[in-house]
Each structure stands twice: as structure tokens, then as C-alpha cells.
Symmetry: C2
Subunit: 236 residues, 2 copies
DNA sequence: GCAGCTCTTTTTGTATACACATTGTATTTT
DNA sequence: AAAATACAATGTGTATACAAAAAGAGCTGC
């Protein structure tokens, strides 16, 4: 995927991130220091530093004297997510329109191309990673250091929730994701035009589409199950 | 202050946090691994792990091959802060009212007592730490894992901004801080009553008071200087 | 047969030694 | 004298060895 990283440490960091986002390492998984240290030819010291970095960003949970785990996705997580996401996403999109540097438009377009490519011929994991990257760039454009940490955490779990619920065989879903790609294009245009009002609206639309996709899966029969009664996504 | 910590590592962690919040270690300061490791009788390995934890929470910046620094407070920081704070604070307060566990009220009251004590006989640093703790508890009450990381970062810089601008000799300021304490009491009552609407309003009021205190210092003559033109607070 | 204990194994935490990068200084060169 | 370069000193990154804690296996007693 991404070219050769400048250090084995960086390689581990990138690999773990991707594994978390794509659910290759499911929430709650235990990480084996010794095994990973052999796999990446790193001693335990730098490896544990990577763990702490990732823990700080919300990818891992570190428990004293009891090793590292992939951060959990609980029932409550989903509720919290649905509450925080529209707020933060809206704010970030708006700020992206206002604050972005012109050079950054290129990065956003590159991310979008990668996303469209993943839609055509990629796996679900590739799609999720490309989509995450697209939104990550909007976060960089917004450039508000106080919003970024929450935004990043939302992106982590948004990717994981999407991976959980995405069913490529379902025709509705395929159309839905195609629509998401079109919205990305609209978002790029609105950001480039520095039209923050439109960006805020597109953020809402984009969120609603994503929300709909998740709800469609959670309540397939259309029966009206309140969010509080959702079945837990994983959890040991 | 707080009783004996269960490990030297924990002691270092707590001490550094406090030093950052009180500006005892000003933004941009370099941290000397060897010196701190002697001071806290810790080898460099666990010390650097603490650094990474603190970096993840926004207290420190880690630069490759170039040591750790206290995270910067720039010009742009203040702008970003003024934008994000009302939004996040409002959301957290509202959620605290809705989601808190009854046991947590005690913690909030304890924090508030400590705050009032600091107002009567404490230093500016004690006041800032107690105030930070009060709001930290509201964050715990809200209990939304997606909002918490941004909220925590706001609290760090709110403490530091307050420390920068607080002038105890100024009578206006003293009255202002007394008013803040009264607002805290109102917040406790509203949370306890689970009145989220009132909590949201109180969050706005509390924010406006704090904002006013900062602006009062930044533009003492009342001349209308736009925020974009503020002098940088620190920065080497 | 199962609860509780002890001893062993495995895993995590810390210290230390060494390798490597960066920075500042002195010397050389023009 | 100024610039460039080699060198020394300091400080950061990594590996490894050891200590401590948790988990697991096997034993004993009820």
C-alpha cells in the first residue's frame, strides 16, 4: 500500500493502525509483545513506545501489568458515537472550508481518487481505509488542535462500524456507497469554494447517509427498535 | 497535595501534569530526561513512557531525536480555543446532566470545595488546578469517550490561559472569580436535578464569564482589537 | 470431585549498556 | 576574518538482561 516506511517502528505503527481500522484485529484482541517484536524485528522497548502512541490516539487500551488490547467497541460506544459524530463532523467540515490551505486540495482529491478506486476494485478494508483518509484530510484542513483528537477517535470507530455493517452483496449498500463518493466530490467543491454553509449542509447529508446505512443493517425489517436496545457489536 | 502515589512513575506523571497546568513549566520548555530520571529515581525507560502518555493527552510534544517539550501555546492556539471551547463545553455540561451517576455528585462537590478553599487562601496555581479538577469531573460525568479527548485538551489550555491572564491584585478579577464559584454551585444543582437545558445555559454563562476575564486582560483599555491581532502569549 | 494452595511458567516492568543522531566547538582552509 | 569541516560532547533511540507480577499447572486436603 503506502511506500516503504522510514523505520521499522513506523512500519509497525502503520500496520497496527490499519489492522485496527479494518477489524483485521477485532476490538478486544490481545497484542503479544514478543510475537510482534519478532515480526517487525524490533526490541520490546520501541515496540512498547508505539503501543503508547497508539493508546494515546485511541487505537489501543493499555492495562497495567496486563498487556495491550485493541480498544473496545461496546454498546455504549455506538450511542456515544451517534451523539458526538454529527456535532464534530459538522464543525470540522465547516472549518475545513474556512481554514484550508490551497495546497491541501490536492491531497483531498488524491484521497478521493483512491476511494473511488477502492469502490471499483478494492476490498472492503481498502474502501474503509481510503474513506478514513479522505476525512482525515478534512480534519487536517480544519486544523483546530482542540477538535482533532475527538475527530480522529470518531474516524477510528466510524471505520470499524462501517466494516462491521457493510455487506457488499447488498445492492442497496453498493448504491449507498456510490452516493457517498458523489458527496465526497461535492464536499471537495464546497471546500475549494470556501463555502462553509454548504460544507456544513453536506456534512449533515453525508452523516445522514452513513447513519442510514448503519441503521439499515441494524434494523433490517424496518421495525422500530430504539438505539438503546441495539445488540452489542463485539465485546468478549 | 494529593496523597502518596502508588508508584514513582505515577508521581512523575502527576507532577508533570500539574507543572504544565500551572505554567511552572511554561509552554515550549525542554524536558531533560536525565535530570528528571534522577529527581524521580526512575530509569529513562519508564520516564519516556510517561512522556508518551502525556504527549497523547496533549501536555507534551515529542520530536524525533530532539527530546520532549511542553506543548506550545501560540497565537493560533487561542483562536482555535475560542472557537472549540463553547461548543465542547456546552455539549459536555448537557451530557453531564443527563448521564451522570449519582455517586459522582460527591466528587463534584469535593472539587468545588477545594476550589472555594483555593479562592480563600490558595495560590493562583492551586486555584487553577482545583478549577480544572471541577470541570474534569463534569467530563467524567458526561462520559462520552469521543468528546473526552478534546475536552481534556481544552481544559489544559484553559488552565494555562487563565494562569497567564489572572491578576489577583485586580479587584474586578477577584469578583469575577467569585462569580465563577457561584456558577459552579449552580452547575452542581442543575446536574443533580438532571436539568440539561439549564446546564447548557449555565455552560454558556460560565464560558462567557471566563471569556470576559480573558478579553478584559487582553484589551484592558476597551479598545476594539480583533482577536486575530492578539499578541502571542508565549512562544520562544 | 472440587476448592484452595504452592510452585512453575509466562508475561510485563525497569535498569543499564551501547549505538546513533544532533549540536556545539575548535581547527583548518581560503 | 569568514566559511567550511572535522571532532568532541551531549542527548536520544534501541537492545538486552534482570526483577516483579500475573497466569497457569499440578498437587494436596477436604
Amino acid at each position: 500500500m503506502s511506500a516503504d516506511p522510514k523505520s521499522r517502528k513506523e512500519a509497525l505503527y502503520v500496520a497496527l493502525k490499519a489492522s485496527v481500522l479494518t477489524l483485521e484485529l477485532p476490538p478486544g484482541s490481545d497484542l503479544d509483545e514478543t510475537a510482534l517484536s519478532e515480526e517487525f524485528s524490533l526490541s520490546r522497548t520501541p515496540l512498547r513506545e508505539v503501543f503508547r502512541n497508539l493508546a494515546g490516539e485511541g487505537y489501543l487500551d493499555l492495562r497495567e501489568n496486563r498487556g495491550a488490547r485493541i480498544s473496545e467497541m461496546s454498546h455504549k460506544t455506538l450511542r456515544d458515537f451517534f451523539l458526538a459524530a454529527p456535532m464534530i463532523y459538522g464543525a470540522v467540515m465547516r472549518l475545513a472550508a474556512i481554514n484550508h490551505k490551497t495546497e491541501q486540495i490536492g491531497e483531498l482529491m488524491a484521497a478521493q481518487e483512491r476511494f473511488r478506486a477502492a469502490l471499483r476494485k478494492g476490498s472492503g478494508a481498502e474502501r474503509a481505509l481510503a474513506n478514513t483518509r479522505f476525512h482525515e484530510v478534512t480534519g487536517e484542513m480544519a486544523g483546530n488542535i482542540y477538535l482533532t483528537p475527538s475527530f480522529q477517535r470518531l474516524l477510528i470507530d466510524h471505520a470499524r462500524i462501517s466494516m462491521t455493517f457493510y455487506q457488499p452483496q447488498n445492492g442497496d449498500m453498493a448504491r449507498n456507497v456510490g452516493e457517498a463518493a458523489d458527496q465526497h466530490d461535492a464536499i471537495i467543491a464546497a471546500i475549494q469554494a470556501r463555502d462553509d454553509e454548504r460544507c456544513a449542509q453536506l456534512a449533515i447529508d453525508h452523516w445522514n447517509l452513513s447513519r442510514g446505512r448503519i441503521e439499515l443493517f441494524v434494523m433490517p425489517a424496518g421495525l422500530d427498535m430504539p438505539l438503546g436496545e441495539l445488540p452489542a457489536t463485539q465485546t468478549a
